[in-house]
């Protein structure tokens, strides 16, 4: 009886929507790891695995934020710039003698303001997400430059050692703190997405905004929440970057928004909205991180690297499309015959 119950539960988890892609990609991930391990004995050493997990953290964190936004049918192009803004703001404050933890709080507040701005521009002012976040992307990058007068900062110094250990260099129970921080953040946001009202609203808005509106969902507040989550995650990555380098660099985070999209999409989050689970983003970010790390160990020249990464990303997404296409046709009803639109939805 106990066994049957366990079996039933496993079945239900596997049948959960989005798991199909996750399983396909996990298999891909395992294959990649095996290949890289065979190509280079250093790849599977304890030291590298430890480093690798920590290297995956920024992609996963920004991936969580981007996944939230993608699920509502939007996109966040400001992620990378907010990382830079967070890095520069925290570092500048610390070099000016501000207590590191106070600097952390101020940094989070500033970045959350950007998230709020994104949410309101898109849901109240009805700007298309692409345009709105393109704008905040340049604003945030500009802030990153202005905050220390267009200079990278000095070293944040010994006073910030506690801060650097907390966010990057320290270990707890054998794992880098960065990894623990990522795990905790993932658990919180995964719970929010899968088991609360807000999570349901996020999926509903991304699936059909009109129907969600007529079901009583507050579209504006739901979309804003997604962007706040994204800003929070970007701010965290910025702080991790400050801790890593021990200083603020104005170009920190450059391009991170697109890696975040890659991690999400590989993991099964759809750019059309309404689909995908955060477990997928974990695998997606891991695939990305393993590729970066593994290709270095394999000694691949840079031209090959870029091509390999691009091809693998396309293959994973294609694989999922093919699998999903077959499944949908098999439900018997041939659908409503709607034409699907490619690209990002306008939020009306």
């Amino acid at each position: 009886m106990e066994n049957k119950k366990k079996q039933g539960k496993l079945k239900r988890i596997l049948a959960k929507r989005g798991m199909g892609q996750v399983i396909t990609v996990t298999i891909g991930l395992v294959a990649l790891v095996i290949v890289f391990a065979l190509l280079n004995p250093y790849f599977l050493t304890g030291r590298n695995i430890s480093n690798l997990l920590r290297q995956i953290a920024p992609t996963l964190l920004t991936g969580i934020g981007q996944s939230y936004v993608l699920i509502t049918g939007n996109i966040d192009l400001s992620i990378g710039s907010v990382v830079g803004m967070s890095c520069m703001t925290s570092a500048t404050l610390m070099t000016k003698g501000v207590n590191p933890w106070v600097a952390v709080i101020i940094t989070y507040l500033a970045c959350l303001l950007i998230g709020l701005l994104n949410g309101k521009l898109i849901s109240k002012a009805k700007l298309p997400a692409f345009i709105a976040t393109l704008g905040t992307m340049t604003i945030a990058r500009g802030i990153a430059q202005i905050v220390n007068n267009n200079y990278n900062t000095d070293s944040i110094g010994e006073a910030a050692e506690g801060f650097m250990n907390f966010f990057y260099y320290g270990k707890t129970l054998g794992l880098f703190n960065t990894i623990w921080i990522t795990i905790v953040i993932w658990l919180v946001f995964n719970f929010l997405l899968s088991r609360t009202r807000t999570g349901r609203h996020l999926y509903a808005v991304g699936s059909n905004m009109h129907a969600a509106h007529l079901s009583g969902v507050n579209i504006s507040s739901t979309v804003t929440k997604a962007y706040l989550v994204s800003a929070f995650c970007s701010a965290t990555v910025g702080l991790i970057t400050t801790a890593t380098s021990g200083m603020g660099t104005m170009d920190a985070g450059n391009g991170y928004e697109l890696y975040a999209v890659a991690a999400s999409v590989i993991g099964g989050v759809s750019t059309l909205g309404g689909q995908g689970i955060l477990l997928g983003t974990v695998i997606g970010a891991s695939v990305w991180g393993v590729l970066q790390n593994g290709l270095q160990f394999a000694g691949a020249p840079v031209a090959i690297r870029n091509i390999v990464i691009g091809v693998i990303v396309i293959i994973t997404v294609l694989l999922d499309l093919v699998v999903r296409q077959n499944k949908k046709v098999g439900t018997g009803k041939v659908g409503t015959g709607k034409t699907t639109s490619i690209g990002l939805k306008h939020k009306a």
């Binding site: 280079n40 990278n152 000095d154 070293s155 380098s245 021990g246 200083m247 170009d251 450059n254 000694g299």
Partner: protein, 302 residues
């Protein structure tokens, strides 16, 4: 009533700006065009140029740069300078042939060209730059010396570079590799970080896992990352890099980096302005090529 007042104020503002423009007409207009606006290197070139401008007093100066390194954008900046009435430009060319078309237009419009940091394959009045290949080689020699002193004559070495497209960093790496030719050291496949300090640290950490004995960082971001990785790993890997910044000097003082090749971008800017003015006044600027040099900064020399 309100509208009329606004109209008068606007007219006054317009007149004042015209006056401002006119009064600048008697000075030399010189524009500095770099690869981007954010790298500290360019900020320092601009600082050096500004110093010369304030000394000379007969120059109207502006720093033009795209937000990111991009050939089309640099061409646009050059065109903007020409349209803006430039008498001379100080240019750090993205690449040897990347912006030739715009440079031809500049010469046709009578604009004088002075190269700072990175010349193009197009005649200019003078080039003020770091001899990147020589500097890279010097870095290699210093690293080799340090390794041999510790009794290490063979092993793996790692290079953390910016990208494969920027001439200056590519030359540095070439110089570095030349220093190890014919030795028993093996340099691994170069990894690129676009100068991002965090990414550079990951790359350097991976090299350390692979058991390298030495790492070379080709610019400021690469060097910061290399130093941090060596600091975290503890142990015996020797790192050497390029450019100076507060953090890099800190890492050298703490012993995590052997040395850095500090360029003199401020000298490029300073002397560049002086050379431009000389040319505009009909005099010779001096030698065709001015090596603004590197200093090797180590723990002892700090």
């Amino acid at each position: 009533m309100k509208r009329k007042l606004l109209g008068v104020v606007l007219c006054i503002v317009l007149l004042l700006s015209l006056v401002g423009y006119a009064s600048g007409a008697s000075k030399y207009r010189i524009f500095l065009i770099t690869m981007d606006q954010m790298d500290q290197h360019w900020v320092t070139v601009d600082a050096g140029a500004k110093k010369a401008v304030s000394e000379l007093g007969n120059v109207t100066y502006r720093w033009l740069a795209p937000d990111v390194k991009d050939d089309a954008k640099q061409i646009e900046s050059i065109n903007n300078a020409i349209a803006g009435g430039a008498d001379a430009i100080l240019l750090a060319a993205n690449g040897p042939t990347a912006v030739t078309s715009a440079l031809r237009e500049a010469t046709a419009a009578g604009v004088k060209i002075i190269y700072v940091d990175s010349p193009a394959d197009y005649p200019g009045e003078q080039t003020l730059a770091t001899d990147n290949e020589a500097a890279g080689n010097k870095a290699g020699q210093e690293l080799k010396k340090a390794l041999v002193n510790k009794g290490i004559t063979s092993g793996k070495l790692g290079v953390v570079n910016v990208n494969a497209a920027t001439a200056s960093v590519v030359q540095r790496e070439n110089g570095f590799r030349a220093a190890f030719k014919g030795t028993a050291f093996q340099i691994l496949e170069t990894q690129y970080s676009e100068g991002d300090a965090a990414r550079s640290k990951d790359i350097a950490a991976n090299y350390i896992t692979q058991g390298v004995v030495g790492i070379f960082g080709a610019n400021e971001g690469c060097t910061v990352g290399t130093g941090n990785a060596i600091k975290e790993a503890g142990g015996k890997v020797i790192g050497i890099g390029f450019d100076k910044s507060n953090t890099i000097l800190q890492l050298i003082k703490e012993g995590h980096l052997l040395a850095t090749m500090a360029q003199n971008p401020d000298v490029m800017g300073y002397k560049g302005i002086k050379a431009a003015v000389a040319v505009l006044e009909g005099k010779s600027p001096g030698a065709a090529y001015v090596d603004t040099g590197v200093s090797v900064l180590t723990k002892d020399t700090l």
